[in-house]
Symmetry: C2
Subunit: 355 residues, 2 copies
């Protein structure tokens, strides 16, 4: 049993807390625990130590290890450059298959929140049983609302907990999302996949042969101890493809286990605000903050010397306020998606040090 | 000709920019010039050097001199404790009368904004001519809107520019303020008074004899060079009274010169925001600020090392944002008056260092 945690994301939606050099998975956006650390902790009953691999970018190695003391360098799959998810998952499958081609691999994004951890583990174990029988299996989240920001998986319900995937659906419009919610057969695609290493490699061979060739080359390099030396050159030749569109959507048979465990992708400051613990006025903030006639605000103070300081909100509602050593963001909760426009503006202004 | 600038104010309405140790008159709230410095500069054509006195509190001496390099210690009337305006103005009149009892004295608050400075000086000169004829004279501001936050002076219009005061009126309600504006005979009381030193002392003798006794004692001390030694003890015995209610309102004859020179008391962050220069979206802010879908916001960054930092506002409107080394205030413009509640809360929480 192996787990691979995808921790290469950059992301600008959580600026100024997230930076290119300190991305979302290294933030404590919910309940004080870093998202990556929570992901590693949650999957530990299934895989840890040598059975746990963390895929990340070369520029994130130091900060990832510093932020997650339980990890060692040997557990990292360090991508020399970002090539989307297919090369990364293929490389993980290749690496694990060298040890045990029948090993079941659980792939998890590093930057999600899960409220009901026993239910999550239970769902993963159902998916593992399915994958162990040779069927690539994904976990789909039962929708709680008509979300237009996620991709969906249409499933064919079965009597058991393992359903068959009918198709993948791109982010829907409002009306379509409402219909999906009502139908009960559409699940959110959360990017969680479970498979035997050999099955994933066979699927890549069938649907993305250019990647399969590259992975065999990489495997040969690794077998003679030259992987580190040849990795950068070879990785650059791999097709930059999403595992969803290049492989998963083309499979004749794909299983899905519906999951209902308080999942969130923590996609924006709005979501972080919604998940935060709040006082009677709906505010979440450091204890030192002062509120006067202010409701439903989410205040994050990431300054190292914040103890002697105070943040005071008067008469304002529905704001997210994020303070770091070099930046202050004030955003209306509903406009959280527009935070990336600040990052764009800073780059245009020649202030890349701030992003 | 003398001018006395009243610069003893404390004030919590401009927290966190203003503090007990750094009050409003020392802030650059409009156009980058400190209010006290602007007041001193504006009156310079009429009085400067030895003819200009600044009344302030003992705890503000160092910061006032540091902030206003044109002033010397000899120009300060340092009140050992706050005793409202009557003792302060009486002390100034006593001090000036020792040099020249017929000198005309212009009393000005230190913390007001005036847009049309030539019109202001012209008005002051009319008031000086009136005062030189032995009539205590105030300057009343022609209302531009139905303000409920100021006291009013009802005047009896005359053919010239010097009118007679009928009565002082406390801050009115909304309907009354509308009526005052429509009547055209009501002026805002801006706390500007012009008088011969001897006339003010006579008025104090007539209407506030306890103060007159104290001032005579103080004058005797000063005449023999002992003022500094006896000041604190004597000042504590003076009645803590407002010159308006204790003297001005009781005078049988008081003149008022209507003034129309773009006056503002800069009474709150709302006013400061209104007076600030704005960009096409109504925002006023440091050039480094980033606005995304944000309108009508007023951003003040008083941190010494603000150059490397950025303040970004996304989707918010009508906010005042003030950042200092130890505090961040975010207030809806219309709730600016409630900023003092933050100061109250900080004192209650045992954080007096922040106020």
């Amino acid at each position: 049993m192996y787990a691979v945690v995808l921790a290469g994301g950059a992301g600008t939606r959580f600026w100024p807390a997230s930076r290119r050099s300190h991305p979302k998975q290294l933030l404590s956006l919910v309940g004080g625990e870093m998202l990556l650390a929570a992901t590693v902790r949650r999957i530990a009953p299934i895989a840890q130590g040598e059975q746990l691999l963390i895929a990340t970018g070369s520029q994130l190695v130091d900060v990832t290890l510093a932020a997650t003391p339980s990890l060692t360098r040997a557990q990292l799959l360090v991508e020399p450059m970002a090539r989307n998810t297919a090369p990364c998952i293929g490389w993980a499958a290749t690496t694990i298959a060298r040890r045990d081609p029948d090993a079941v691999v659980v792939v998890l994004p590093a930057d999600q929140f899960i409220a009901d951890e026993p239910a999550f583990l239970d769902t993963v174990r159902v998916a593992i049983d399915s994958a162990a029988r040779g069927v690539i299996t994904t976990i789909g989240i039962k929708p709680t609302h008509a979300e237009t920001g996620y991709g969906y998986i249409e499933a064919v319900p079965a009597s058991g907990r393992v359903w068959e995937v009918a198709r993948f659906v791109e982010k829907p419009g409002r009306a379509q999302a409402e219909a999906f919610l009502a139908a009960g057969t559409f699940l959110w695609n959360a990017g969680m996949f479970v498979f035997r290493a050999r099955d994933m490699l066979a699927a890549i061979r069938a649907h993305l042969p250019a990647l399969a060739d590259g992975l065999e080359h990489l495997d040969a390099l690794a077998a003679r101890g030259d992987e580190a030396a040849g990795l950068a050159e070879l990785f650059a030749t791999l097709p930059s493809s999403s595992i969803d569109t290049a492989v998963m959507e083309k499979l004749a048979t794909l299983a899905v286990v519906p999951g209902d465990f308080g999942w969130s992708d923590v996609g924006s400051w709005l979501t972080a605000a919604e998940l935060a613990e709040k006082d009677a006025n709906g505010n979440s903030a450091p204890a030192s903050a002062v509120f006067v006639g202010a409701r439903d605000n989410h205040v994050v103070d990431l300054r190292e010397d914040s103890a002697g300081r105070v943040i005071a909100l008067v008469g304002v509602s529905g704001l997210v306020v994020v303070e770091t050593a070099d930046a202050l963001l004030i955003v209306r909760r509903e406009d959280s998606q527009r935070v990336r426009e600040v990052v764009d503006a800073l780059i245009l202004r020649g202030r890349p040090g701030l992003v």
